[in-house]
Amino acid sequence: MPTNLTYTQLLEDNAWLRKSGDSFYFQCTTRTVQESKLFPVNPYIALSYYNAWYRWPELVRKISASMSPEEVGDRAREVSSYVNAISLSTIPNFFLGGRQFLIDMGMINPTDSLDDIHEVLDFSRRANLAYHRQTGHVLNSDNSNRAQILPERALQVFEADAIGCVPGDRLHSAVAGFLATASQYAFLKNCECRLGIHNSGPYQVGANEMLVRDFVDLAEGDYPWLDGVASEIEHNNLTMPVIMKDTHFNIVDDWGSFEATPSYDHDNVVAVGLYTSDYLSDGYIPVHMENAGDLADYLDLLREKMADATSQLWKRMAGWSRDQMIDAGSLVYYGVFKDFAHFAGTYEQDDWCMLDERANRMKPLMNDEYGRDAIAEVVGFISLTSQQESPYVMSRYAAQPADMWSAIPYAVLHDAPSTATAGPIRPGVTSLEPKTALYTTTRGKLTQDECNAAAKGFVPKVFEDGGRYLDDQWVKNNAASDRARRLYEATQEHSRHLQGRGSLLQREDIEKIRNG
């Protein structure tokens, strides 16, 4: 039967599908196929695509019933979490990757599961729109690879409270050590993928630029393999605003990766801060930012704890079977959607840490060579038979007669047969040890039910009194109002230098406050 979707919905779905594929092509082809001698990376990536295809539509419906994608995007912009530019940009691609493989193997047609496709694409597009509303773009790549996510009120606090440092002093050295160790730990705990690291910016800070660096899911939480080894890490998400001199961040891309001109040199770091936040916090909470010595001490301690966790975790992972490695890696990729459930208060471990039996059945194909070549063909060479188009076509980046994701044929609006859904989630399987530890949040270590109850009952202070809709464009003409003052003061609540300073501060004021 023809679909119930409208022409406008299909036009929007296909436009988002194509934009996502183009962005993904650029990202993937500037990195080559990922590999690891420890993890079978590409087999687990391919498997995660199937799991996304089969499970996300129903989980999107479950999240949507509790919170709209726009509200999750708006809340995510106020804190650091797994809902960020990299996860938001990858959601359509991981999902459509499963669809493309199945189309290529003749297991589905481009006209199948159209309601499922619409659910996921529409949800992810709307969440991206809200998250990126500060610049009015959908992806960072639309904004010349700039990730200017945060409003003035948050950036003023980051700048005002940033603690100065110079090469050779304790804080400067501690920051370098922390960033390296946190990056290393993030790659390992995410089974070789970069999803635990995110950057936003650059933000202009006078003659300097600020990059806001996020490390997420660091502590005992959603990933069962962190139980025990991460018990000493007290904050699940950490954010470090870094102010740099003589450095222009010319690229902060759709995966939150940065490049700089001249290339990033730690000697150019002039000030930093450290914060934690999550779906239960009112914005960013400073971490050991009393003074430079306090912050340096804590960063050194964190570095020791993360290095220890890295060693313990590596030993655990090195003892895993191939099946366990593939299950863990695929769940990290598949899990790019999981924090939506945390924001909405609908998180269930089995939704996010199991492979659907329909995805699991694909494992016999997932040898290293097939995984590598299938991923390379689908996202790099665009060479699968199902991806080919009319010989007149020149696609956006690849300039070849092929596109990454098959569009939905519009004939389904007339008389072409189609199907609506692949059906509900089926039983999940996993070879991993079950989760036993509590979930680390800004409100302490909680059970799953406590996390969900807290999320359902939480309204951020900056959302009160219609604050959710008070953007910088509104502030521009209403900065002297009580509502603007309350909005800014809610963001300034934990600030050392700006608490209670309100909405009339200009950047020059921030600089004076910083300089004492």
């Binding site: 990195r31 297991m107 290393q184 970069r194 694909m362 016999p364 290293d368 070549d373």
Partner: protein, 232 residues
């Protein structure tokens, strides 16, 4: 349109790689046979549990390729360790015997792309390619002046010992790969996409890390690549 559409593809072509072509074509054939036997319309067939492709079907697809004598290339060591019958042995660094020499008359045993510019470095090449070697260095410490030769552009195999390396030479990836990102954070000089010829474990080598960082978006420029010279 009431059939598997990939079977009737105006612009279709073979996949680029043999395993993808074999696997996908074989699955298409199984689906087509099952669909024809069902006597049903595609939209009634496609999500029907009774008609689904199963893990057993896919095992048969894999077997059909292995039965031809084909073996798979390995990425992760665990794959080869668990199923040695399915995988080719790991490649080793070859020695053509035709190496050019540098300005000081030393054999150039490799080149690579520089992640960032750092002082040139002399050290001992040590191949760090297996879990066992990493575990040994994790427990016993990384020997001083180790320039790690890593056949892995990822950041996990060497995660617990990376900080101990004086330099890194990676035989894969690009300067934007995970290992490139991590070595930049640790300020450990690193070459990516290295091509080696005649380098052996334990060789004393000199690496021109002082060359400018490689532009990830530019075409490959041989003259810009960093040389690795063998001292002894």
């Amino acid at each position: 349109m009431s059939q598997p559409q990939v079977l009737d593809d105006k612009w279709g072509k073979k996949a680029m790689t043999p395993t993808v072509e074999h696997f996908h074509r074989a699955v298409r054939e199984v689906v087509a046979e099952r669909f024809a036997a069902s006597g049903r319309a595609w939209e009634d067939f496609v999500h029907d549990l009774a008609c689904e492709i199963t893990a057993e079907d896919l095992q048969a697809v894999e077997k059909s390729l292995l039965d031809t004598g084909y073996t798979f290339e390995t990425s992760a060591h665990v794959s080869l360790a668990e199923s040695p019958e399915k995988y080719k042995p790991l490649a080793v660094v070859s020695d053509s015997g035709n190496q050019v020499t540098d300005d000081e008359g030393r054999k150039v045993v490799g080149t690579g792309d520089n992640v960032f510019s750092a002082p040139d470095l002399t050290g001992t090449a040590r191949f760090v390619g297996t879990v066992d070697v990493v575990m040994e260095m994790l427990l016993g410490g990384v020997p001083p002046d180790t320039i790690a030769i890593i056949d892995d552009s990822g950041g996990t195999l060497t995660a617990p010992i990376l900080e101990g390396f004086a330099g890194v030479i990676c035989m894969g990836g690009t300067v934007r790969s995970h290992l490139g990102i991590l070595t930049r954070e640790y300020n450990i000089p690193c070459l990516m996409a290295a091509e080696l010829d005649g380098l052996a474990d334990g060789d004393k080598i000199h690496v021109q890390y002082s060359k400018p960082a490689t532009d990830a978006y530019a075409e490959r420029d041989e003259s810009a690549r960093v040389r690795i010279s063998k001292i002894s």
